[in-house]
């Protein structure tokens, strides 16, 4: 039996204003897998992501991370869940809020109780993983957008997460930064859930794709197969870039 990083079962959720965002989502991701979560705007992707670490809760269904169930009322469990689930938010300016890159990367592990040399080691380890070791002492807003995105990845890697969740990682990146980010993510030995509209990026990085539409999982399979199903894409407002044929490129390594 393969080990499971993330197990979402029967997850349904409605916002307080009555808007129902999720209708019974089931999703299981094995350890070390890389999965793209695709879906049009308003499909419930962000709602799902915010359930993974217990920021949103109160609906029905369960979320388990590495076997541990997310129970929002239980502070100790929640702490461990937030260590295990590393969310990289879409806007790095939201994620990087400390005066220097070093402080920002240290924020998570320091909240976990790390101090001194151990904390420093954790920070340099995370920054080296994303190739940003030499900007540690700079303020985040002096970095380029691509650099900020990579530092944002480092801020959660520093917590040694069980699963890395990236929300629209390629948005606003120029092609070179996008490729650099791909290389960084490709080099990481961690389970990844990549929420994106960038279908070629999904194909390049993730062997498996899940399509979320209207608050439910409507497709789950090999990325090449999902992107090759024109009817499926059309039914859920997913579109490949002009001239892009998923069959013409080799998918990312499994």
């Amino acid at each position: 039996m393969i080990e499971v990083s993330l197990e979402v079962a029967g997850l349904a959720f409605a916002y307080p204003d009555g808007h129902q965002a999720l209708f019974g989502v089931d999703l299981t991701i094995g350890r070390g897998e890389r999965v793209a979560l695709l879906g049009p705007n308003g499909a419930g992707k962000t709602t799902l992501v915010l359930h993974l670490n217990g920021i949103l809760s109160g609906g029905v269904g369960t979320v388990r991370v590495g076997g541990l169930e997310v129970r929002p009322g239980d502070r100790d469990t929640l702490r461990e869940i937030r260590r295990r689930v590393g969310i990289v938010f879409q806007d790095p300016d939201d994620q990087l809020f400390m005066p220097t890159v070093r402080d920002d990367v240290a924020f998570g592990p320091a909240n976990l109780g790390l101090r001194g040399a151990e904390l420093d080691a954790r920070v340099s380890e995370a920054l080296d993983l994303v190739g940003m070791g030499d900007v540690a002492d700079r303020p985040p807003h002096h970095l380029s957008f691509g650099q900020r995105r990579r530092v944002a990845v480092a801020t959660v890697l520093a917590m040694r997460p069980e699963i890395l969740v990236l929300d629209e990682p390629t948005s606003n990146l120029d092609p070179a930064s996008r490729r650099e980010l791909h290389d960084v993510l490709d080099s990481l030995d961690v389970t990844q859930l990549v929420v994106t509209h960038d279908l070629p990026f999904a194909l390049q990085l993730c062997p498996r794709s899940v399509v979320l539409s209207g608050g439910a999982v409507v497709a789950d399979g090999a990325t090449a197969d999902v992107l090759g199903d024109a009817d499926l894409l059309a039914a859920h407002r997913l579109e490949l870039p002009y001239g892009f044929d998923p069959r013409s490129v080799a998918p990312g390594r499994p």
Partner: protein, 250 residues
């Protein structure tokens, strides 16, 4: 707006003043200002001595005089106020260069000018020799309530982001032919300000989410700051002690 925060004021260096822990410097500044304010305004030469002390600190910190002078423009509104005092105050008049000025007004003006200037220069020296991060950590060490330190920290971090938002909104307005020319246009600008507030508020919520996601549980972790040894405290005490001696002698 380039860089637009602490870095603009901070002048990196490695002088004795730079190396002093931030909380020592903050306390020294506070004590110095208290001594200055407590000095009676008629003790004219004492203020000269204070100025010399500050000049000494500036020399040790290698902060050039022109930098200090350039930054003193923040004091201008107070200077204007101080200059008005002799003209508008009541009391016995004296003739200076053909102007009839109020004697108590002159003294009050001098009082504001001298004490204000000394305080401003001392603060400029603190800002020039302490980086933002050190300053925040220093405040935290001085038991300034965490919430206040956090607010200051976020303000510094997001000043640029919000200023960038504001600039983009202005460019977007102007690109569609808008020029603020008369008071009637204030409405448009005010709406922009409102939109900016809402945007910043929403960003605040997203930042909070990101903090929660990384284990934030209500207090910022105190990231490594050097404590102050006896020697640091002694060095930091030099300025306020010297000022105190001057105040007693005068």
């Amino acid at each position: 707006m380039s860089g637009g925060h602490g870095h603009a004021l901070y002048r990196p260096g490695d002088s004795a003043v730079h190396r002093l822990p931030a909380h020592v410097k903050v306390l020294a500044l506070l004590a110095f200002v208290l001594v200055v304010v407590a000095t009676p305004r008629e003790h004219y030469w004492a203020f000269g001595a204070y100025a010399l002390l500050l000049a000494g600190v500036a020399a040790i910190a290698r902060v050039p005089a022109r930098v200090v002078v350039a930054r003193m423009v923040v004091e201008l509104p107070f200077v204007v106020f101080a200059l008005l005092m002799p003209v508008v105050s009541q009391g016995p008049r004296v003739d200076v260069l053909g102007l009839s000025l109020s004697e108590p007004g002159l003294l009050t003006g001098w009082n504001i000018l001298a004490k204000g200037t000394l305080g401003v220069v001392a603060s400029i020296l603190l800002a020039a020799t302490t980086d933002v991060r050190g300053l925040l950590a220093g405040l935290q060490r001085l038991r300034v309530p965490d919430r206040l330190v956090e607010i200051a920290s976020f303000m510094i971090r997001y000043a640029d982001v919000v200023a960038g938002d504001m600039r983009r909104m202005r460019i977007a307005r102007e690109s569609r032919g808008f020029q603020a020319r008369h008071l009637g246009h204030a409405r448009v600008v005010a709406q922009g300000a409102g939109a900016l507030f809402v945007r910043s508020y929403e960003r605040g919520e997203r930042v909070h989410l990101a903090m929660l996601s990384r284990g934030y549980a209500g207090s910022m972790p105190l990231t490594a700051t050097a404590g102050a040894g006896r020697a640091d405290w002694l060095r930091g005490a030099t300025l306020p002690l010297a000022a105190g001696v001057v105040a007693v002698l005068s």
